[in-house]
Symmetry: C2
Subunit: 501 residues, 2 copies
């Protein structure tokens, strides 16, 4: 026995007035539960003493039933280590009914076709597999340099906060988030991103995806029109589609989203989704002139601007540009950010800054969605920020990512010069490499995934299939060795085995 | 200075070719950021050395700008402790523009009325305040006995898991959840609840609310009809309303949901929401006959059953009854559970067990909702379960809650005999007390909340206003003293000051 798991108390109900003796009822129950798969091979069962006490019966019939189950090989006893469901049970051919049930169900499904789901459920079932997201190898987008994370400091803060948690940290928390955390975020956003807000306007979320879902829910009705960057962030597309919104693709060029096109084609749009600091996926920065044009249009037309500032912490060549939110005088901007990239993804913490008149519906929507965010990590991150580790970590990562970006570009130039054309500003944690015309980027990504490489096909970010495919390559989580190895595997993935694209 | 926060690097962009000298540009930027509220009183600013390095300029103009800002009182310097935004800034009357912006916005809103949200957003804005959920005092429903939680063991496991986390624990995780955790849940559910499933069928969620939201999204289209228990769980109602479903109230009696009524009135229903183990809020258990009737109806009509088994761990008088899911041979049951009550709410972990053909859409829906659940707590809880602490904790809490329930009933009998009629089975963590006819339960709850008591008005669980109000009283988180004090405060809250209801 490697481990000694505790035994659970099984849901047995004894029929007192039946003719069937107690020991027989117990024997039948265990045999059924074991052959039926509810009790699993190797699982511990309660002691006869505990079981008798639990069932308020004498120990004799329990001993009788267990003896028989042991004799027939359903149970195994280990001296001093308790009684277990046998690892190989006697009528094994009759068993595994979970499997049988599944197979039976499979047959049923095949016979009568798929069962009725919602339209959304059907669409979700039929989403194409994204095999490039199945691995955490080189070029996984949004993956930070986890081995450079100050885990020692962090785990000390985790331990400190969980050792003597105040009641509030374990109980139900505020739907908007843990107040000291929101204050730390407000201070950070004001200083670094020029965001103007009070802590009361900040809703803590489980990440930017939840922030997008809640924004879509509060702001958009089915059939409402939303302007999306083309190409743009598929997560945002998913959120808007979930509420039945209609998407208007607006092209991006070297100055970011083409706002003039919004004025022409998006007149009745209820909202615009935009990544002005570092366009996802193409990487350019929205020009100041377009920012003002967009804000003025939104104020005039009464549309909302959803500003996704997912990785603005990292700029290498130029200084960061202040957020749209900080320029907005009409309370039109919903500002979304995340700690998945600056900290680590499994933290599951992000935030949305909302105009004051939207605090109430956003808070109520969060409550209806999943009530509130786990408090421990909010408290730990507050300490991490207030003790200065956060600012330090960002500075260190900025240097690191700048280096990794250079390494990646060099590796592409030396190994894939004729196959990948690098575009995007010197910022963030990813870049886009355009493939030669005619190459099928989804095919390239699939082949790369088989080699353990994660490269998102650029075409998956388009609503209208693009004339030229490409690959989105993250460099945050890959060191120099992984980058070089990754690029040589990627080179092998560009062409099919028969040499064609 | 109590703490020395790190300074953030501000988003300054210097215009190199302008006639305005660098020191003037810097002075202007800081003055604007300070009076504009982006930089907050008491916040640390970078050292002149760091700022000059960051901006790739010489240190002279930075020193010049800082000298002027110090002289004018915008900044304060502390020897050896750095430079800070002054705690009281000179033209304070001109400042606090976040506030001004808010006030300005407030005026705008008042002038032109509320701004356009989605219908759902408007409904969320207008949800009545639930002041009884603002406190964690006696009778807060679903609050467990946090001071009896084995925090020493737990925090050791937290520390162990966060000290040397494998890469996988910090990176992006599986949308379905952390596999060892799902295996532990499958084993637990099979042994204790008679649930038949493989780990692959388990989707880990942030709690039962998210499980409900995702189920609604995958299974229901707008206008689809859903049978709800009447009275029933408001969180489920919210989830179904979010996707535009129509609710059919089905009365509950002493045998639980009246399934015959579903057969009559719910013929075309797409789904039934039910809490068979311990009806929420009334507390009865669904009879075996009704369980079979419901399953047979669902198999015939092709409807889904959403079984919410939110607190089945705790039964005091009788043995637990196996789940509907374990009796289902047609793969019709979506089984939902949570760790908020057995462990603690801020854990934010729950799960849903889905039929095998629904794994894919549920997984994709979770991905679109918020990608995945934070991994640390999943890993910690896996250890907690496997090392036997979980089974032990449940047993101890069962004894404790049985006592607390008795204490509460005694306190009601001695202090409020003529005002509260206790109903519900001997199970769970709450009971319902019916108020005298004519009493307005919302009013009672509001007055109780002012005294720091949390009692949910029973009428909020009804779709059709009930003829008799009541209070839902949680006893999990209240010790004997708090129960007695709480009941005397509740007694004072039943009548208004003028003696009427």
């Amino acid at each position: 026995m490697k481990r000694t798991p505790a035994s659970y108390l099984p849901p047995i109900t004894l029929q007192d007035r039946e003719e069937i003796p107690i020991y027989q009822q117990l024997y039948d129950w265990f045999r059924r539960a074991i052959t039926g798969g509810q009790l699993r091979p190797g699982q511990r069962v309660p002691s006869t003493r505990n079981l008798a006490a639990e069932l308020k019966t004498s120990r004799m019939p329990v001993l009788g039933a267990f003896e028989q189950l042991l004799a027939e090989g359903y149970l195994e006893a280990f001296v001093g280590a308790g009684t277990y469901v046998a690892r190989s049970i006697p009528d094994d051919t009759l068993s595994r009914p979970a499997e049988k049930a599944r197979n039976g169900l499979q047959e049923t499904v095949e016979k009568r076709g798929p069962r009725r789901l919602s339209r959304r459920g059907v669409a979700l079932t039929n989403l194409p597999a994204q095999s490039w997201l199945d691995n955490l190898g080189a070029f996984r987008v949004s993956l930070p340099a986890l081995d450079h994370f100050p885990i020692g400091v962090w785990s000390k803060l985790v331990a400190r906060n969980s050792r003597k948690p105040p009641k509030g940290i374990m109980a139900y928390g505020d739907a908007m988030g843990y107040l000291p955390f929101r204050e730390a975020i407000a201070e950070y956003l004001g200083a670094v991103r020029g965001v103007r807000c009070e802590a009361s306007q900040i809703l803590v979320t489980t990440g930017s995806q939840q922030a997008l879902q809640i924004s879509a829910q509060v702001l958009l009705d089915p059939k409402d029109r939303v302007c999306m960057e083309e190409p743009g962030y598929p997560g945002a597309r998913q959120a808007f589609i979930t509420v039945g919104a209609q998407l208007i693709p607006i092209r991006v060029d070297h100055d970011g989203m083409n706002v003039a096109e919004i004025l022409r084609r998006g007149r009745d749009a209820r909202a615009v989704y935009v990544t002005p600091s570092h366009q996802y996926p193409m990487g350019m920065t929205m020009s100041a002139a377009r920012r003002m044009l967009l804000l003025n249009w939104a104020a005039r037309s009464g549309a909302w601007i959803i500003e996704d500032d997912y990785d603005s912490e990292y700029r290498f060549a130029s200084r960061p540009i202040a957020s749209l939110q900080g320029l907005d005088t009409d309370g039109r901007v919903i500002y979304i950010g995340t700690f998945s990239k600056v900290m680590f993804p499994a933290l599951r913490l992000g935030y949305v800054v909302v105009p004051t008149d939207l605090i109430r519906p956003f808070s109520a929507a969060r409550d209806a969605t999943d009530i509130f965010s786990s408090t421990l990590y909010q408290a730990v991150l507050t300490d991490f920020i207030e003790e200065g580790h956060f600012a330090r970590h960002i500075r260190r990562m900025r240097m690191l990512y700048m280096d990794r970006r250079k390494t990646l570009i060099k590796a592409i130039h030396s190994q894939m010069k004729d196959m990948l054309e690098v575009i995007g500003a010197e910022a963030g944690m990813h870049l886009v490499g355009l493939l030669p015309r005619g190459a099928n980027d989804v095919g390239v990504s699939r082949r790369a995934a088989q080699r353990g490489i994660s490269a998102i096909p650029l075409s998956t970010c388009y609503l209208i299939p693009p004339s030229r495919g490409g690959l989105i390559l993250g460099y945050g989580g890959a060191n120099s060795h992984q980058i070089h190895e990754g690029i040589s595997k990627l080179r092998m993935s560009v062409h099919r085995d028969d040499g064609r694209y």
